[in-house]
Amino acid sequence: MNSLWAVTLATLKKDIRLEWRSKDALNSMLFFSLLVVVIFAFAFDPLAEESRHIAGGLIWVAFLFAAVVALNQTWARELRNQVLDAYRVSPAPANALFLAKAVGNFIFVSVLEALMTPLFVVFYNLHVLGPAWQLIPIALLGTWALVVNGTFFAAMSLRTRSREIMLPLLLFPISIPAVLGMVAGTTAVLTGDNPAHFYIVLLLTYDVVFTTACLLLFETILHAE
């Protein structure tokens, strides 16, 4: 157990250091979601009163696509020089690698969200009518939901042809309940029409179920060359 946390922490530090030096994932994610915001602003009239109803959907769709960019990057880093093999021949627990990658992605995507949300607020002239604090658990749980399965499926799609396309193909169908929860929850808070509690519970359940499944199956996936 001790080594699990030690290796997780070491891997996380290493990933953050690598990301800090190259800034591959963060830059491409930022630029990508910026584009999405601008294109959405053209496609939908952001000044209309009903923008409050669609903003939740737009934000999360933008983050979902941006997250896929980050998720593809995480494992690409391990494939260069086949460093993943060095991990696989070591006695370090597979789940430590998974947790480190998932937490790393969580941090990257959260940073992105923190940077992009003000932009959305400005573009769509949003002001929240419901209890705004509920957006925080929705964002945290929703991001983890995307990232935990995304990390897992990105590892899975390492073993496929055209893996960059494979990831969204595997991830999106499974993520539908989570996306629905995030979008509907955010919309509920923004409009203040109905309570968002259910969505928070839904996201929490989703997170617990799939985090458990990922931890149980990741070792199998990692060693299925």
Binding site: T160, R161, I174, A213
Partner: protein, 241 residues
């Protein structure tokens, strides 16, 4: 076993014809919807069959992850593929039924149709993974994905169930009990489709076994160039063509 196949095929054909006759002619017309309600006799049994096949896929995938037996993996693959076919039938007949009854092709708030669509997407992604995998252990990856897909099903159901309370509901729930005659015909149709699904799965299973035998033969062939083929043979049986 092979001799039973034609016998079972004929029996299934008779059963399907009988079920069709029951559905179109014998059963009385629905008071509210008119004759168009008879779509139920194809739509609902197909859905039940698809769900059953996906359930078998889930169980087989778990068994595969524990026991790693290739036969169980073939069962999982076959059930997913045939399940997707039946699921497609559900998704096509659903809107055809919805149009005359509700006046719209698709109701996003309808829990059954929408969750079936998500189910279809999940299992299509499963088949795509199996197709595109370059791993020598595709079966393991696929089994893991199948477990994820199955875990997702209740969550999909509940998320849509809650989501629709926000939306105007075009669906008049399946309230009211069913005429026992209708239920009987529904079950006859389900039985007929189950037999049909079994036959299709059987064929698909044999196809997959044959496919793996051909792969094996190619593997033998691939290294036989230096005259080594006699010395070593792969352990898996290779049936005569």
């Amino acid at each position: 076993m092979k001799r039973f196949f034609p016998i079972l095929s004929i029996l299934t054909a008779i059963l399907l014809a009988y079920a069709l006759y029951q559905a179109l002619v014998v059963v009385p017309t629905d008071a509210l919807q008119g004759d168009v309600y008879r779509i139920i006799y194809y739509h609902v049994p197909s859905a039940w069959t698809a769900f059953l096949l996906f359930l078998i896929n889930f169980v087989a995938s778990i068994i595969y992850l524990i026991r790693r037996s290739p036969k169980v993996d073939i069962v999982a693959l076959v059930c997913a593929e045939v399940g997707v076919v039946f699921c497609t039938v559900v998704l096509v007949t659903g809107p055809i039924w919805a149009r005359p009854v509700w006046g719209i092709w698709w109701a996003p708030g309808d829990i059954r149709l929408t969750s079936t669509l998500v189910l279809w997407l999940i299992y299509v992604s499963y088949l795509v993974l199996r197709r595109f995998s370059t791993s020598a252990q595709t079966q393991v990856l696929a089994a893991a994905l199948a477990v994820f897909g199955a875990l997702d099903v209740p969550l999909v159901y509940f998320s849509i169930w809650f989501f629709r309370t926000q939306h105007p509901q075009p669906v008049i729930g399946g309230g009211g009990s069913m005429d026992p005659r209708m239920l009987r015909v529904l079950l006859i149709n389900w039985l007929a489709f189950l037999c049909f699904a079994f036959l299709v799965c059987w064929s698909r299973y044999r196809l997959e076994v044959l496919h793996r035998e051909v792969d094996q033969a190619h593997a033998l062939e691939s290294l036989a160039g230096a005259g080594m083929a006699e010395k070593a043979s792969l352990p898996l049986s290779r049936s005569a063509p």
